[in-house]
Each structure stands twice: as C-alpha cells, then as structure tokens.
Amino acid sequence: MGAQILFFLCAALILISAIMVVTVRNLIHAALWLIATLFGAALLYASLDASFIAVVQVVVYIGAIAIMFIFAVMLTRRELLIKTDQTNANWPLALGLSAVMLVALGYVIGGFGVTLNTTPAAIPAGVDPLTLLGKALLAPEAYVLPFEVASVLLLAAMVGAVYVAMNKK
C-alpha cells in the first residue's frame, strides 16, 4: 500500500511538472520544472531498487544537463522569450497527434494484459546489482562494445560542441 502511494505521488509529480515544462512561458521556469520531473523519476528509480540509476539521475541529469539548459537560456536574450507566443501555429495539430499517440500506446499496453508481470522479480540473496552492472559493462560477451562506443560518442560530442560553441564570427 505504501509503495502504491509512493508510486502515485511520483507519477503525479512527474506528469504535472512535465506538463508545466511544455506549457509554461518563461523558459527558466520550464527548466526548473524539468528538474522537478527528473527528481520524480529519480524517486521512482529508488523505489525500483535501482539506486545507482537514481543517484546518476540526480548527479548527471539534474546536476549537469538541467544546468546546461539554464545556461543556454541565459546565453540567449530575454526579449525573445517573452515577446511572442511560445507555441507555433501548429500546436492544435501537435496536441491531437500526441493525444492519438497516447491512446495508441495505452491500447497497446492494455493489450499486453496478463502477459506482463504484476510483481517485481525477486533479487537473489547475496547479489549486488551494481557489481553485476560493472561486470556486464566490461564483459566481452555482454556490453563492452556499447561501453567503448559510448566513450567515442562522448568524445565526438565534446569536440563538436566545443568547436561549434567557440566558433567566432
């Protein structure tokens, strides 16, 4: 029962603040609402026993990515933010498309029905998921290729982003 209340609190936090992110006019506020969304997701990961992912969510998403957004908003001028409408002319179409998408996804998930688990699987005693994660990331028969590709991706992102951001005109 307690777990269900926690889930509904997290879900409410995530969904309400996500709606604020896409509707609020001031982009600084949108970035702050994004932090609330991310924090709700971190709570959800903690309740799912994925403590590492929860901490990473706070450190990387809230600590770095959300801050980058606030930087970017501050680097651009404010008049652009408050002068005009924040939504483009096609917003009713976008709303309709998202609603159709939601109904379709809900239909698909509802169609899974009884094939989905209703309770979490048991974690065997003496197994630490974090050590398993380290082994899985580095094992050649598991995920070592994505691991190395991620470093190349980060390298490319850093070189590209630094080059583009500092390109003086």
Partner: protein, 118 residues
C-alpha cells in the same frame, strides 16, 4: 526494502526545514520598522543600471560542457571501479582505453585554448 533511503529522505526533510525555520523565525521575532532607505534594493551600494537579465559570457558554457562530458564519464567508470577486483585484466585495459579516448577530447579543448579564461 527502502531502509537505506530513509536517511536520504531524512536529509531532504531536515534540509528543507532549516531554511523554512530560519525564515519563519526571523519573520516572527524581527521588529518591523520600515523606512524608504531600508526598503530600497541595496541599503548600501549603487542601484542597478538597466535590466538585471544580462547576457552571460559564452565561456561559462564551454566549461559547463566539459564538466558535463566528464560527469557522464564518471557514470561509466563507477561500476567499473566497483567491480575491478572481480574483473579480468582485459576488462581493466578496456576501462583505461575508455579514459584515454576521453582524454583525447580534453587535450583537443586544451590545444584550442578553450580552457583559458579570457
């Protein structure tokens, strides 16, 4: 199940309570005798000129960018470091290769002079 998280929750609650208590206490205890000088934005110092929303220097952004990339690198290296004792030598080398690839990016930024404050 959630026991270790109790402490985190406790920290959150205490961390929220302390500033709230400070604000409420000062509102309750402080005498209120306002005058125009006290109510001005800065009691001493100059009034601000123009909009308070000034444009940031792009340099801050580059530092945040490099920080972000290395923040994400930590995420990959933490499980690696934790499982280090249980890993074969090959896996340790893989982790070092991972670090070297990212150091190449850092040295690029350094060579381009983007880490110097101008």
């Amino acid at each position: 199940m959630l026991n270790p998280w109790m402490f985190v929750g406790l920290f959150l609650i205490v961390g929220l309570l302390i500033p709230v208590a400070a604000i409420v206490l000062s509102a309750l205890l402080a005498p209120r005798k306002p005058n125009p000088i006290k109510l001005s934005t800065y009691e001493c110092g100059m009034e601000t000129v123009g909009d308070s929303w000034v444009q940031f220097k792009a340099q801050y952004y580059v530092f945040a960018l490099v920080f972000l990339i290395f923040d994400v690198e930590t995420v990959f290296l933490f499980p690696w470091a934790l499982a280090l004792n249980a890993l074969p030598f090959f896996a340790v080398v893989e982790g070092i290769v991972f670090i070297l690839i990212l150091i190449a990016g850092l040295s690029f930024a350094w060579r381009k002079g983007m880490l110097e404050w101008v």
